[in-house]
């Protein structure tokens, strides 16, 4: 049920204005705030104007519903020709030339409910807006009162209503502006937040990098220290062996005992160093996996031989190997599996005062599970994880007797993981332990890292690789014959992921890719491939494509663009590019240490590789051996002087054209100058070298000889 509030027939423009006015008054009377008053008034006048314009005669009715939540309803009805294409208008697809379509959509936004019913002879627009939740329910009686007040109230002056509309418009504008300002502030805040997040991520990256470096440092440290331990240890072992061999006379019984202890301690220490080195190697990823096929029975029989000495003076423990002849052969690294089991067994024997150590194996899924079960002292549950950590040793009387390195089990774990498996222990204190290692029957390599077989390549040491990244293999097929006979090796990668994987381990002479019309492939590669390191480019990018995409390629950061067909230029350009990357070899011929030092400092450039010769003979030898790109030559040297060096250089075919800069403190006579000019050399005085302009001067002279810093590739 609802109460009628007011009805206004629309017969003139004036009535439209009045409808708007009434709508606002009703909204005010029902407790709507200023904003909603304007919304209701605007919606009403918009629909009233539409109806009046198209039907010339219409009616607006206002009602208030009874049930909570109460809403005010506005009906605008006419008997006009109807609204064609209403569906399209409501979906926002209809573009009206008069703007009516937009009016309906705009109006719909102002109200809570909006609905139009139209046919060729009549149209009704139904709109509703819920009363503000803060308003107390409006009774029927109160609704009647509002209705009668409205009826009595005379229609206001048209101008007044327009003026009010203007004021409202102005207000709306102000509101809009303050909204926009709020939005701008919010945007700025968001930007700040984003920046913060980016900075935090950078910091995280840095931390991760730091941690990785710290771990690397630790590994290197352990490995270096171990190396340093080795030499003195070897001496102790060798020397004590000499003593025990009575090389320099007999030993007394006590002396023999003492030397034996020295030898034994050195052996223990040596084992520790070896374990440490093994661990460091595994951690540094320097361990090679040597895959071969072998049977568990073979492995066990070899182990029996190796482990027998461990039991030589221990008669209360039996070492039992179970029958494993039924198990399938493994294809993995036998040495590593054997090392794991050796460690398990020697560990078990150490902590088993009496009883047996039993070695067995079984086939489970795609793995062989090796088990070493003992009747020893066992490991308490709380320590069962820790014993696989480096340098963990437990307190127990047997441990005190058998000080191990604390590295055996951690090494087992690292090795098993390396083979794609794992290790573990089940144990009960006082009852014994069962250590096990699960090893995949077939070593699969690192699945996540292994590129598909078609994309692997056999590296050739002396041929710089060029990486082609292209989805379609046709390009590879076309380029491959060109490269086959060249000094470059063409590596093909179908996908950016595998290219990226490959690039992490290799630095090619260049990366080749196709640049299509839109350049998406090139852009993607630039984003996804690790082409930069420490802000420096690791290799050149060569884009290939039809001639018209050249500017696009340059824009996207290609170092070189080669238009298709490229058969003949490709190698020439590649050579030019890689030559630019190669440092220039510069031979410094100087007998004076200080002058040499100064030259070295001045010429300390990444694109220059400096060689030294301390006299004329050395210089001549270095030139023929190293074939430098240029020579900086001192004139005054003991023995063969610079003039003689030059004469001999020019006399040889290989160095007749070799660029030479003479750098001397000798005061040159006219005769000297003529001689030097005849031998085509640049001259710089050492006094100039001492000046502050020196680097520029030297580099300029070098540049004149064609030796200059490469343009950034």
């Amino acid at each position: 049920m609802s109460s009628r509030l007011c009805s206004i027939p629309l017969r003139s423009e004036r009535d439209v204005v009045q409808a708007r006015q009434r709508a606002r008054e009703i909204a005010a009377a029902l407790g709507f705030d200023n904003q909603d008053q304007i919304r209701l008034a605007t919606a009403t006048s918009e629909m009233a104007r539409n109806a009046f314009r198209y039907a010339r005669e219409a009616q607006v009715d206002f009602e208030l519903t009874d049930q909570v939540p109460q809403e005010v309803r506005v009906f605008v009805s006419d008997h006009g020709p109807g609204i064609p294409k209403l569906d399209q208008i409501l979906e926002g697809r209809y573009q009206s030339r008069t703007g009516m379509g937009l009016g309906i959509i705009g109006t719909r936004r102002l109200m809570d409910n909006f609905d139009i019913e139209t046919n060729p002879s009549a149209t009704v627009v139904r709109m509703a807006k819920a009363l503000p939740p803060t308003t107390a329910p409006i009774t029927k009686l109160r609704a009647q009162k509002i209705a009668s007040t409205l009826e009595k109230r005379p229609a206001e002056n048209l101008y007044e209503e327009i003026e009010r509309q203007n004021r409202e418009l102005l207000k709306a504008f102000q509101e809009l502006r303050s909204r926009q300002e709020e939005l701008a502030i919010l945007n700025r805040e968001l930007e700040d937040t984003n920046r913060g997040v980016v900075a935090l991520y950078a910091e995280l990256d840095e931390r991760a990098d730091y941690l990785r470096r710290a771990s690397e440092l630790k590994t290197n440290f352990i490995s270096n220290i171990s190396h340093e331990f080795r030499t003195p240890l070897n001496s102790i072992i060798s020397l004590s062996r000499m003593l025990l061999d009575r090389m320099d006379g007999d030993l007394t019984n006590e002396q023999e005992k003492q030397v034996q202890f020295i030898a034994k301690s050195a052996r223990t220490l040596s084992d520790l160093v070896n374990d440490l080195l093994d661990i460091a190697k595994v951690e540094a990823g320097k361990v090679k996996i040597r895959v071969k096929t072998f049977s568990v029975a073979e492995l066990f029989s070899a182990l029996k031989g190796m482990l027998k000495p461990l039991l030589a003076d221990n008669t209360s423990v039996d070492l039992v190997f179970e029958d494993v002849s039924h198990l399938p052969a493994l294809r993995t690294d036998e040495g590593k599996v054997s090392q794991i089991l050796r460690n398990f067994v020697s560990n078990a024997i150490k902590f088993t005062p009496q009883g047996e150590v039993r070695v067995s194996a079984s086939h489970e899924d795609h793995k062989i599970v090796f088990r070493v079960k003992d009747t020893g002292i066992g490991v308490a549950p709380q320590h069962q994880e820790a014993i696989f950590e480096e340098f963990t040793q437990l307190e127990n009387p047997l441990q005190a007797q058998h000080k191990g390195t604390g590295l055996g089990l951690p090494l087992c774990r690292s090795l098993a993981r390396l083979l794609g498996g794992g290790v573990g222990v089940q144990s009960e204190l006082g009852r014994g332990s069962m250590f096990f290692a699960e090893i995949p029957i077939v070593y699969r390599g690192d699945l996540t890292e292994q590129p598909p077989a078609s994309e692997t390549w056999a590296p050739e040491f002396h041929r710089p690789p060029v990486l082609l990244v292209n989805q379609a293999p046709e390009l590879f097929d076309r380029l491959e014959p060109i490269f086959r006979t060249s000094e470059f090796q063409l590596i093909y990668s179908e996908r950016p992921e595998s290219a990226s994987h490959w690039l992490k381990r290799n630095v090619p002479a260049a990366v080749l890719c196709e640049c299509g019309a839109d350049g998406t492939v090139l852009r993607e590669l630039r984003q996804r491939l690790p082409l930069e390191q420490n802000g420096k480019k690791r290799c050149a990018i060569i884009a290939i494509g039809s001639p018209d995409v050249a500017p696009r390629a340059a824009e996207l950061g290609a170092d070189l663009f080669l238009p298709i067909p490229l058969e003949k230029d490709l190698l020439v350009e590649l050579r030019r590019l890689t030559n630019r990357q190669r440092p220039c070899k510069l031979l410094l011929v100087e007998d004076n240490d200080i002058s040499l030092y100064i030259l070295r400092e001045l010429l300390d450039r990444p694109w220059l590789s400096l060689l030294e010769a301390r006299n004329g003979e050395e210089a001549l030898e270095a030139v023929s051996r190293e074939l430098p790109d240029a020579v900086i030559l001192d004139l005054l040297m003991p023995g063969m002087d610079g003039f003689e060096v030059l004469r001999r250089l020019r006399a040889r075919e290989e160095s007749s054209e070799l660029p030479v800069i003479v750098c001397t403190s000798k005061k040159l006579t006219h005769e000297d100058t003529v001689r030097l000019e005849n031998m085509h050399v640049e001259v710089i005085s050492k006094a100039d070298i001492a000046s502050r302009l020196a680097p520029e001067l030297l580099l300029k002279s070098l540049a004149e000889l064609g030796i200059a810093e490469p343009r950034s590739i």
Partner: protein
């Protein structure tokens, strides 16, 4: 005539172990401690060089390579000694042209045997 054996190792104890193991009236032992010194000394044509892999100035295998590249010294047998049994060192020594390779800690008897066989099978000097 006695054979001259040049022992190249910067570690005093190592030199002692080698020299003591090889003490023999027929063998004349000489010692030096750096790679450059060794290259200098080989020009006096010892009959055998025992060369440590790790030297303070240049790597032992590099010394070996240079000895084996010089037509003058090429025929001198070189026994490389390393602290590591790893393949890498062995490969480096082999590639450099070393005639034998032993690993610390040295066993006196094995060392004597190796030296004997190297001296016996020396190629004729050029």
């Amino acid at each position: 005539m006695a054979f001259r054996i040049l022992v190249v190792d910067d570690n005093e104890q190592n030199r002692y172990v080698i020299s003591r193991s090889l003490r023999n009236p027929d063998w004349l032992l000489e010692e030096c401690t750096t790679g450059f010194a060794a290259l200098e000394r080989v020009r006096s044509m010892p009959d055998l060089v025992i060369l440590d892999m790790r030297l303070p100035d240049i790597p032992g295998y590099e010394v070996c390579r240079r000895i084996k590249q010089d037509p003058l010294t090429r025929s001198i047998p070189v026994l490389q000694v390393s602290a590591y049994a790893g393949e890498q060192g062995q490969a480096a020594a082999r590639n450099a042209g070393a005639d034998e390779f032993l690993v610390h800690p040295l066993d006196a008897r094995l060392l004597v045997e190796t030296v004997n066989s190297l001296l016996a099978n020396r190629p004729a000097a050029s």
